[in-house]
């Protein structure tokens, strides 16, 4: 496979994952704005979790709901807006067209066509739920086409590595922004403000239902951390993503018969999460833990690009 193709697959699926994650964060932000008397401060933290606050502040003087949503969904000046990443996913899909089945290509192409149309105009409050649903559905169609039609070979592996690096990054960033409400010191009180924040965290990773199933109705910060960092059943948890990254890189090593530096890095990242208990993490400091996880994840992503010659 061409190095360029591996890179195209990696970024195509990172971008698709990002489109869905961004939509989910907008949804969580909107939900909280509607159900509680929260201020626009919530949108600042949403923008921050999505990693797009800096660019937003370059363009706007104040954070408002409408502007934040527009920036995250439509603005082409924001390279991580849903429209930007979907377009970029499609361009990558074009680049790697020969590596994709017709079904996968058509689902990406249709995703782009539909969203280009939907996001051509400002999204009104009334239309927001429908638009969010569309974004999530389109990403699901691509994933479905991929699972159903693609060979399980190096093409699939690079796509999966991209997906899970992006997803781990997303969950880690949410935790990074909200870590202070998850500290044990905060849990003693369990004020209504905390409850809002806890719900917001779970919603932004579509985990309310999963959490209830696992821990019951009572939401406690320690368990949220446990769930999002260490629960191997939770498909957006850090440990789940890390194991997927490690496994898929491992298939590549087997397939090509060569172990490379990125494989050692993936193993070590995996151990960082899977061999820890939540108490240890709180002892060393949640914020420090997340911070170093993000740094290592970025380094792993870079090393993968190098080892598999994505670029010249």
């Amino acid at each position: 496979m061409l190095g360029k193709t591996a890179g195209g697959l990696f970024w195509m699926f990172r971008n698709l994952e990002r489109s869905e994650n961004t939509a989910r964060m907008v949804e969580a932000g909107q939900r909280i704005a509607l159900t509680r008397s929260a201020s626009d401060d919530e949108w600042t933290s949403v923008l921050q979790s999505a990693g797009v606050l800096w660019g937003y502040n370059e363009k706007y003087d104040e954070v408002t709901r409408d502007q934040a949503i527009d920036w995250m969904l439509r603005d082409r000046a924001n390279p991580s807006s849903v429209m930007s990443v979907v377009e970029s996913a499609r361009n990558n899909a074009k680049l790697v067209r020969t590596a994709l089945t017709r079904e996968v290509w058509e689902s990406v192409n249709e995703c782009w066509m539909v969203l280009k149309d939907t996001l051509a105009r400002k999204v009104s409050e009334r239309d927001l739920p429908h638009v969010i649903t569309q974004i999530r559905q389109r990403a699901a169609f691509v994933r479905g086409a991929m699972h159903g039609t693609m060979l399980r070979n190096d093409i699939y592996d690079f796509a999966r590595v991209g997906t899970f690096i992006e997803r781990a990054d997303n969950t880690a960033r949410i935790l990074d922004v909200k870590y202070y409400v998850l500290l044990p010191s905060a849990s003693a009180v369990g004020s209504s403000i905390d409850n809002v924040q806890w719900e917001s965290i779970l919603r932004s990773v579509s985990a309310e239902g999963g959490f209830r199933l696992t821990y019951g109705q009572e939401v406690r910060p320690r368990e949220i951390s446990q769930f999002l960092i260490l629960d191997k059943r939770m498909p957006r948890s850090l440990v789940f993503c890390c194991e997927k990254i490690r496994d898929n890189l491992g298939y590549l090593a087997q397939d090509y018969g060569t172990r490379l530096p990125c494989h050692d890095m993936a193993d070590s990242l995996c151990r960082q999460v899977s061999e820890r208990r939540i108490e240890d993490i709180f002892d060393t400091g949640l914020h420090e833990f997340i911070g170093s996880f993000i740094v290592d994840l970025v380094a792993l992503s870079r090393q993968t690009e190098l080892d598999y010659r994505f670029y010249e």
Partner: protein, 484 residues
């Protein structure tokens, strides 16, 4: 799709030959089963099918990019659901003529870059070659692997009567449009399977397999084992990118860009996830000028530095060979009947459109006297730029063109306006005749010349228009060649 125009204009409708209805004689035989089917069809269903077809094309991404038009960066080429039908007998004759012409073109190219016998014999003037920008001195004395110069050729044909086909242009560089030939057929098979039960249509679907085989058969001396083929594209923003990825996909080969390639140990190698691996045959879809910044345009970022040196030493096959443009140049075109005769010893089976070379005094005088009736083209132009279509031009345009022509006569050729044949398209009001041309695709290898039965039919969708160019409102049709 290449930007070019079919010329011809000004004939009244009664003179025009319609491929379904003839001139006046009534329904032509190849269309009989189709006509029966059509008579029983509900127009509403057909209209629905027409929309469905467009949806399929959009979803598949069979689009072409239009430069400099941001809002419509990707557009569909309109597809018309009425097939163009050619009988097996008509096709056999065309195919013989095409094969003869393509063999002559290859012999001509070999001769031009070696002994230049045709110039010594006085059949083509020396300045036609020496002063021609399409002539590549870098190719002098170079014999491509297998002796093949034009691995893929598109011959543009127009028809004016039952038995009258003319070659309008030879495309010997990087002819495009073959993906439309294949996708148009796929679409028709899906939408109207019953039509294919009623008509015995020769298949086109093995083109990618033949292409792969044909390219593999031209592997260079350095190739050991199964030839590795790759398609070289300028990238996703190129107007024909869809076709490049389509062909790579259907052949099961890599689609590479210049920055994926470099010279490694005297071979061209592509950067894979496991290091550099050599390529044997490169089907390039970039122009000569961009192929190698060390040997041609130093500004080019699309090509591979040093590829020409590897080529000359037998390390890679480039298809089509560099320098083939000298054979499809508009000035050379007028010599094609001589060229065919010189190398094959036979009269050309396919006719040329009569052409006046304005470099010759008598011809120039004639052309200047008859501008309103003629089509005048720039010798080195392409894309329909800088041409005059006399019958539709205003007096002012003709006067302005006359000055240009007088200033540099050798820069122009002139041709009579032809009455291009029509084929029906499906409109709101039912069938309506529209002008068409035809580009069959030809593969050349040491194993022989293979012509896919059919080709790309381009159709001018506007009533009376002779411009089939996709950038100017042209569409495409499925082209059927019936079994004999």
């Amino acid at each position: 799709m290449t930007q070019q125009q079919s010329q011809g204009q000004g004939q009244s409708q009664s003179q025009t030959f319609d491929e379904m209805w003839g001139r006046e004689a009534g329904l032509r035989e190849p269309y009989a089963p189709f006509n029966n089917w059509f008579a029983d069809e509900d127009p509403a269903r057909l209209r629905r099918k027409q929309r469905e077809a467009e949806e399929v094309f959009r979803l598949t991404g069979i689009t072409f990019n239009v430069y400099g038009r941001e809002e419509a960066a990707e557009r569909l080429i309109p597809f018309d659901i009425i097939p163009r039908i050619i009988s097996g007998r008509e096709w056999s004759k065309l195919a013989r003529g095409i094969e003869q012409r393509v063999r002559a073109i290859n012999a001509f190219l070999h001769d031009i870059y070696h002994r230049q016998e045709i110039i010594r014999a006085g059949r083509v003037p020396a300045e036609m070659i020496a002063k021609n920008a399409a002539f590549l001195p870098q190719m002098i004395g170079v014999t491509p692997p297998g002796g093949v110069y034009t691995h893929i050729v598109g011959i543009d044909l127009v028809r004016t009567g039952d038995d009258d086909f003319f070659v309008l242009e030879d495309n010997a560089r990087t002819p495009s449009g073959v993906s439309y030939m294949l996708e148009n057929r796929e679409t028709m098979l899906q939408m109207f399977p019953e039509l294919f039960s009623k008509n015995r249509v020769q298949p086109v679907s093995n083109y990618p397999k033949l292409l792969h085989r044909s390219l593999s058969a031209c592997a260079p001396a350095a190739c050991t084992g199964n030839p590795v083929v790759a398609v070289l594209t300028p990238g996703i923003y190129n107007s024909a990118y869809y076709e490049h990825s389509f062909l790579a996909d259907k052949m099961g080969v890599e689609l590479v860009e210049g920055h994926d390639l470099r010279v490694v140990d005297g071979r061209i190698a592509m950067r894979t996830t496991q290091g550099y691996q050599p390529i044997d045959v490169i089907y390039r879809r970039i122009d000569d000028d961009y192929l190698d910044p060390l040997n041609f345009n130093p500004e080019s970022a699309l090509g591979v530095p040093g590829i020409m040196d590897v080529y000359r030493s037998g390390g890679i096959t480039i298809a089509n060979a560099p320098g083939t443009g000298i054979a499809d140049d508009k000035a050379i075109y007028s010599y094609m009947p001589d060229i065919v005769e010189f190398y094959t010893g036979e009269k050309a089976i396919l006719q040329n459109v009569p052409t006046w070379r304005c470099s010759e005094a008598d011809s120039l005088a004639y052309v200047l006297d008859n501008l309103p009736d003629l089509v005048v083209k720039e010798v080195h132009g392409s894309g329909g730029y800088g041409m005059l279509i006399g019958p539709t031009a205003s007096r002012k345009e003709i006067a302005a063109f006359r000055d240009k022509l007088k200033a540099r006569p050798s820069n122009y050729i002139a041709q009579p306006t032809l009455s291009l044949s029509t084929v029906p398209i499906f409109t709101k009001a039912g069938l309506a005749p529209r002008h068409v041309d035809l580009r069959p695709f030809v593969l050349v290898s040491p194993e022989g010349v293979k012509i896919t039965p059919g080709g790309l039919t381009r159709v001018a969708l506007k009533k009376g228009s002779l411009v089939v160019n996709s950038s100017q409102g042209g569409g495409t049709k499925d082209t059927w060649v019936l079994e004999e």
